[in-house]
Symmetry: C2
Subunit: 798 residues, 2 copies
């Protein structure tokens, strides 16, 4: 049986707290001992536990020994003991113990806490080593190591000179990692009075500061020292304020549970959810997320007994964020680097006016994006707040440029796109898509344009095929098999194929017919490769490539034939960066920035768009920001003598510094991952040459999802076909009804949420399409385990 | 002459650096001495300066004495010396020196640095006291006190056991306040090897760590100690790596200037600005913002000589953010509390999926908003990313509810609003406004609705008046004088007036006519009181109140008269929370959340809207977030058996945790300011009873701008009229052309940017309207000084 993945700990009958120190030698163990003694006295029917995961120094001085000596009722434990009295990372180097990585420490800590819980009700104190950032045996910060547990913190402040500063800084370092500080404890000191200052400082932050009499100075005579400490502990652990403190620990624990378990009911009463039919939604359907770290939500379990006993499960279940939180996650949740980047920009700028102004994060991000698109057309960056607004900006750009050249009327102009496309929820972005479930009932929505049906890429019953749209086998020929997904992406070869020539003829013919019908167009808009909201539809890249080719090479198709414009540009040479035919807009909001395994998804088509829109992964999955990149040729259409000729669009928080700094950090981090071949373990599985060396220049396509898994899944009787690229997996399930109104994927979704011991999987479905999407930082073992779960769920076993 | 407001320091010929310590007693002064000696040796033609602003402990041990003893070439200075060897906040209490607040310390530090600069080229080291958060004499954190200077930091790390943790935490506390860390220095220590760990830790963060031989242990014999230290200094200050380090300080200084001064040119090449005609924009028009704090940008000055000499001015000019960064600022720039709130949510959640899920920050913010609107209709919260998208959501809500009741067709439906209104830049939000400069040339824009012209409130030549729209004196009567602005807002009295009855008749007549013309409407949409983008137009609140009354009391005006609906609701009783006539939408994106002095601006009208939209100040001015609050009666229109009946809108980052946590923090902070009467100094000026006690329940209107100033400004020959409410001031300038195309306000704008010694003012103008907008945290002295500047600029003197 799979063991549970270590995650947050929240048992009703076990209070687990983490003791951090503002520095080393501030009295963590003395505080722990006092509390353990007080707990034993206050609740003798319950157990007090003390856990020191990692300890350094001679065994006879070890903290767990000291606690058990003075508080014999407490059950103490140390998991990793090193002899040298230095930081664990140095002690580990000199030790004969095996090298422990952070994961193995975390697992053992998690198991130990679970065992304590099973043994009956009580309180557990987990005492850390040194200061909060003291290194783990594997040289990372222990504040990061223990973060997944997210235990409430008792921070022992520093009472010495300088201790105000180190205590506040320690608090801040924990806080920006998403820890909640339950209370602060500190020795009284008449001279420095740190306790008084800290009390006032933390009062408006709702963190109580408890000042305690300091222990007597260490006596070198062990017996006398022991005796003095015994007296000290007896006195301090029976203070009234300690009783009150211990009682508060219980109250806070219950208040946390009460608050957390009430959230779904409160949400049902007052939240209006996006894309949600509330008629079918009750509180029990609402997932309460206590926190998230890496790939996991820590979510309130679906069947939590309210009885506080040792059989009751952990209230919080590690739950894979299987939709990458609506396609946004790149670096996993709770990344401290992104948290610091956000805070740095907030501290340096807040938000500053952007119209007519510039700041470093916006400029650096702009240059980073332009340089790494490797598209010489793109020279300008326009900022907005999300994919939908970024697409409105792109559309305004395209329509203005085209109608200026072709002298089209202002309203009488549409876009060319693909069926099933989706570009956002604001009316202008909706207007770029054909009528569908998403927009059909929206007032003021009016699909403006023409949308091509297109051939799709699928892995069907073990074979990669390109399948023509139904009813169009005549024009495109029957479904074609390919030896590999890579062959489908071999644009060099396929460009010369009969398929390409069929595609071009068909497209030219349709555009000619539309022109004759008097239809006027202002832009070609496409999501390269993968149409997300439309149902994770995988477009034949050759078809999209041909569409761009035909549009660019035939500007005469877009003039008003009744009054031929003299301004029609001739087909561009390869050096010409001006737009031709129509401005080509790529909506890479979802597909760009490594979602499909590459910096941009235009590169799969070998096509340079005139306008490219990027959001979602742009900030690594932290907060909204969008960039619309454009060519000078498009930009120049807005230069004029009048202000009203300008692109009159701009949100108050345009290019907000926090978003720009977070985006710069995360884009750089993902680029660094590519450079250091972090994904080679996945790429190896897709390498057709069977070689273990990945050619950096290679045009190999790859996915985090293994070829073997896809093959097996595609053979399941309930599966129509599967596709995968980059971190995206989509499984098209057999159903009589297809599309958004199908409920075929619900069963699979439900089994993945409930059937597994180690963790569960939260997913979103699109009608009969079940999909999963990981972060760019997800480890191979996690993906492989999820693959097992999916296969088991497809066949009905778990 | 006014003295310069202390701000960031960046002189070409003076390198100024700040020495912070990871803890007290880590060797800041020894490091400073080493560097001073090395500087004197490396650049004997330049001056080395050492400044210890605040020192505690006996004079003979003072740090500046020590530096000058061992580095006699260095010019040292201490500004505030306390005898007690404790933290400055305790030392100050026991001292005979006057109590110094942070501002006076900052001013003296700033003056001293400026004097050093004038004395010739060199390097200045500013050594702080204790650890980074050590308290100032006024008990605040010194990291906050010195933040406005934003000097590059030399962080002296802690080489002792536990020092890894305290050094990293100190770095994080500085970083989240927007400090840049130039380098880290630390003593070598074989046993703990902190220097090695820190070196590896900070390498990917691009911060070099320099390890130095530690000083000899202190010798109690002063003479011997002196001798040993002299030898130590001679040895260490001549190390090759110290030479390299000192050279790097220069390189980094020049690189910073180079980077900063190149930003505007790089921006000109690649940024596409919002609402900006680029044809007229050159690099010199682009304001480069190095950082911002409180009310001030630290912006690269407009006339910076490139010669590095002691006459050249500070490259950075403190510049008032006079547009509140496009109307967003509430708590000032660089607020550490908001920075921490952002980082906490990032660390705890990142962004987590919101559809069908809930997290604490979203729920708390929702309840906070619903409870404090004091509008019993509002029960539901829908999240989006900015005001424009929030208005699209509101419009979708309103149109669906109305056309469901009245059976209107999907496209054939408009909104009722006011002329000059503006609701955002996305097409759907644009469609809610009449054609104007902002949207007239936008493709797909189509104003859908009817917009009433309206009477305006003005202070004209010293008198508060309500002025009818031109050409409508017949219906509304001539301009009416009022004794005070307060009287204009006295809805109880004015509701019974002839004006109210005129307004109602007029509105009823117009709506009847529109109905007869076959026009169909789905919502009444208004910005209460102040139409921002339309030109800071101040609407007579009585007119808006009457508009709502007429719409709600006459549902028969909105039915299709050719096929009377049986579903027409009767006029609502006061208990009825259902919408009547049309859903009433208030766009409080700009006017809400204390911008006009109150939590919401609906309260000025005494009207409860059915839908209310809030953004901008929602996050205190940090990042984009919007809430659309709605009544259950509107919400119920979306309950249905089909998914497509739901409100199908939702951005990927819906209710992102960072935004929600920042919003919760800032809304609570502003509410706390109201509760503790932080604005009473401003309110007193507006108290008509001449009393100094502010009645909490009072309906008094007030502004940060004083009545006397408004009166004087309104008398200026160049001024047509002025208005002010809350933090907003608008001055309507005389011009033959009025509106967005006027350039009348440019002169005033230019004088405020250039003419003053203490600070300059950055402002945005709207045609002939000059406006200023402060934060909710701006102090009265600043507002009064700005008033002086405006008056001086209006009359042409400075």
């Amino acid at each position: 049986m799979a063991t549970r993945t270590p995650g947050s700990v929240l048992f009703r009958s076990l209070k687990a707290l983490q003791v951090y120190g503002a520095n080393t030698d501030v009295g963590k163990t003395v505080v722990s001992t006092i509390l353990c003694k007080a707990l034993a006295r206050a609740t003798p029917e319950q157990q007090a536990w003390y856990l020191k995961p990692v300890s350094t120094g001679p065994l006879e001085d070890a903290d767990d020994y000291s606690v058990s000596r003075f508080s014999p009722e407490t059950r103490t434990k140390c998991l990793f003991q090193y002899d040298l009295p230095v930081s664990p990372h140095i002690a580990a180097r000199g030790s004969k113990l095996p090298a422990f990585n952070d994961n193995s420490i975390l697992s053992q800590v998690y198991s130990h806490i679970t065992e304590c819980h099973k043994a009956g009700p009580g309180t557990l104190l987990l005492e850390t080593a040194g200061g909060i950032h003291s290194p783990t045996p594997a040289s990372n910060s222990q504040a990061d190591l223990y973060r997944p547990l997210r235990l409430p913190v008792l921070l022992v402040a520093d009472a010495r000179l300088g201790g105000i500063s180190s205590s506040i800084s320690a608090f801040e370092s924990l806080h920006i990692r998403g820890y909640d500080i339950d209370s602060i404890l500190v020795w009284e000191n008449r001279q420095y009075q740190n306790h008084a200052y800290l009390h006032d400082y933390f009062k408006p932050r709702n963190i109580p500061v408890l000042a305690l009499p300091p222990p007597p100075p260490r006596d070198n005579d062990r017996a006398r020292d022991h005796e003095q400490m015994s007296l000290y502990y007896e006195k301090v652990s029976t203070l009234e304020k300690i009783d009150a403190f211990v009682e508060n620990l219980s109250k806070n624990h219950e208040a946390r549970i009460e608050k957390l378990t009430s959230l779904s009911t409160r949400a049902e009463s007052h939240i209006w959810y996006p894309f949600t039919q509330h008629k079918d939604l009750s509180a029990k359907d609402i997932m309460t997320i206590d926190s998230a770290y890496g790939d996991f939500f820590q979510a309130v379990g679906q069947s939590n007994a309210e009885v506080p006993n040792s059989e009751a499960p952990n209230l919080l279940e590690p739950t894979v964020d299987g939709s990458a939180s609506w396609w946004t996650q790149g670096l996993g949740h709770g990344d401290p680097q992104l948290s610091l980047a956000a805070a740095y920009a907030a501290g340096r700028y807040g938000h500053v006016m952007f119209a007519g102004a510039i700041h470093e994060p916006a400029m650096s991000l702009s240059e980073l994006m332009l340089q790494n698109m490797h598209n010489p057309r793109l020279q300008r960056v326009f900022f907005s707040d999300n994919g939908s607004t970024g697409m409105e900006v792109a559309t305004k750009m395209g329509l203005t440029a085209a109608s200026q050249r072709y002298q089209h009327a202002k309203h009488d102009i549409g876009v060319i796109g693909l069926k099933g496309s989706y570009h956002g929820d604001t009316i202008g972005a909706m207007d770029c898509s054909e009528p569908s479930t998403f927009n059909g009932k929206v007032h003021w929505y009016e699909g403006r344009g023409y949308w091509f049906d297109f051939p799709q890429v699928k892995l069907k019953a073990g074979n990669w095929i390109v399948e023509p749209p139904s009813g169009m086998e005549n024009g495109f020929g029957p479904a074609t098999e390919f030896a590999s997904l890579n062959d489908i992406f071999d644009m060099g070869t396929r460009d010369q194929s009969l398929a390409a020539s069929n595609y071009r003829s068909y497209i030219t013919e349709v555009l000619g017919r539309l022109q004759n019908e008097g239809k006027r167009f202002g832009a070609l808009i496409m999501e390269p490769i993968l149409l997300g909201a439309g149902g994770m539809l995988f477009v034949d890249p050759l078809f999209q490539r041909c569409l761009v080719q035909v549009v660019r090479q035939n500007p005469q198709l877009f003039t008003d034939s009744s009054s031929p414009s003299t301004e029609t540009a001739s087909p561009p040479s390869s050096q010409d960066l001006g737009w031709s035919g129509l401005p080509v807009i790529f909506d890479e909001v979802f597909t760009g920035l490594y979602r499909l395994g590459r910096f941009n998804s235009a590169s799969f088509l070998g096509v340079d768009p005139d306008i490219s829109v990027h959001a979602k992964l742009l900030t690594g999955g932290l907060l909204p920001l969008c960039v619309t990149l454009a060519s000078d040729s498009v930009y120049e259409a807005f230069l004029g003598t009048e202000k009203s000729d300008a692109l009159l669009h701009g949100h108050s928080y345009t290019a907000h510094a926090v978003g720009c700094e977070v985006a710069r950090t995360s884009v750089q981090k993902m680029m660094e991952m590519e450079k250091t071949q972090e994904w080679s373990v996945f790429q190896n599985d897709w390498s057709s040459s069977q070689s273990n060396t990945i050619d950096q220049e290679s045009s190999q396509v790859w996915s985090m999802w293994s070829q073997g898994f896809l093959h097996q899944a595609s053979l399941s009787p309930s599966v129509e076909s599967v596709v995968a690229l980059g971190s995206v997996l989509a499984i098209n399930l057999q159903d009589d009804i297809s599309g958004y109104n199908s409920t075929a994927a619900r069963g699979l979704q439900g089994r993945l949420r409930a059937d597994f011991k180690d963790f569960s999987i939260h997913s979103r479905v699109l009608g009969n399409v079940f999909y999963l999407m990981m972060s760019q930082t997800t480890k191979m073992e996690a993906v492989r385990r999820i693959e097992q779960m999916v296969l088991a769920s497809l066949t009905g076993s778990s």
